[in-house]
């Protein structure tokens, strides 16, 4: 800091850099803000089936069915744990869930939860 105070040129460059960083992160934050209402979160291995059903506005029964698991009340196991129990790769389950979500969106159920995708 003492070095910066002694050299006005360095101070000026640091000022320009701080402004640039503000704009870069501000722009990125703006892009996320625009995306937040248009796009749902990607499916991640830590998510449970009911969690994915909520974030993508599809009934959880459809998703359980898509990965070949009997729907049970309060089944909040993460996808990674289901994959281990079913002896299947996590990527396979994620792909099946994404396909089921895409199908559900093409043929929406009349009583599907939440907002329209």
């Amino acid at each position: 800091m003492a070095l910066i105070r002694r050299r006005p040129l360095l101070l000026g460059l640091t000022f320009v850099l701080a402004i640039a960083v503000t704009f870069v992160f501000g722009f990125r934050a703006g892009a996320h803000a625009r995306r937040i209402r248009r796009q749902n979160d990607p499916v991640r291995p830590w998510m449970s089936v009911p969690f994915i059903a909520h974030t993508h506005h599809v009934p959880s029964e459809i998703l359980f069915q898509a990965i070949g698991v009997q729907p049970r009340e309060h089944d909040r196991r993460p996808i990674r744990q289901i994959a281990r129990a079913e002896k299947r790769p996590v990527a396979d389950l994620v792909r099946d869930l994404e396909n089921a979500i895409a199908n559900a969106r093409r043929n929406p159920q009349p009583n599907a939860p939440g907002k329209a995708p």
């Binding site: 101070l11 501000g26 934050a29 996320h32 979160d41 830590w46 993460p78 744990q81």
Partner: protein, 192 residues
């Protein structure tokens, strides 16, 4: 680590929330913002009660903060040395100690929810500086409650976009830090 924490929260709810926020408040770097946002989403799904989650997150954080304060105040120099090495360095602790004296209560309050990276340091520094425990507790509870309320509420409102929301808040914080730096440097540069 992040994946395991979120998986535990999504599966077990409240006990996982309480455990993780307590450990994070002591000084272990964990993705607390995302954790609170996901908790908000779980509240929107009816898995946990909103106010129960806010109360539990506040209680866990305050408990962890009190542990940091207690180490600083009654832990002795050897324990403080070991703890500050765990968090980073002794120099950083000394810097935070000077700032803690200067900022006092508002410093404790804002480090709970706005500049959260400073939180564990402020706890330790407040203990070493023998800042009044009652005042520390009041500022601590107020700050942690506000932090938990803001992030859990945001998670409840944007319950279907928790990852995007976390990225948005992360970039927004960096933009604010850079803007603050620009204002301070600009002030030095142009005040003559």
């Amino acid at each position: 680590m992040r994946e395991q924490i979120l998986a535990a929260l999504s599966q077990y709810g409240s006990p996982a929330l309480f455990g993780v926020v307590t450990i994070a408040a002591i000084g272990v770097p964990l993705p607390i913002t995302l954790l609170l946002i996901v908790t908000g989403s779980l509240a929107a799904q009816g898995m946990v009660s909103f106010w129960w989650a806010v109360g539990l997150a506040t209680a866990g954080s305050v408990l962890g903060d009190q542990a940091g304060y207690a180490i600083g105040r009654w832990g002795g120099s050897r324990l403080v040395d070991r703890f500050s090495r765990l968090l980073g360095s002794r120099e950083r602790l000394e810097k935070t100690q000077a700032q803690a004296r200067e900022w006092g209560g508002p410093g404790i309050f804002f480090s709970r929810w706005l500049i959260t990276a400073l939180g564990p340091w402020v706890n330790l520094a407040s203990g070493i500086a023998e800042y009044s425990w009652t005042r520390f507790l009041i500022w601590d509870v107020a700050g942690e409650f506000l932090g938990a309320l803001i992030y859990i509420l945001l998670g409840r409102v944007f319950s279907d976009s928790v990852i995007t929301l976390d990225e948005l808040l992360g970039d927004f914080s960096w933009a604010m830090v850079a803007l603050l730096a620009a204002v301070l440097i600009g002030w030095k540069l142009f005040k003559k």
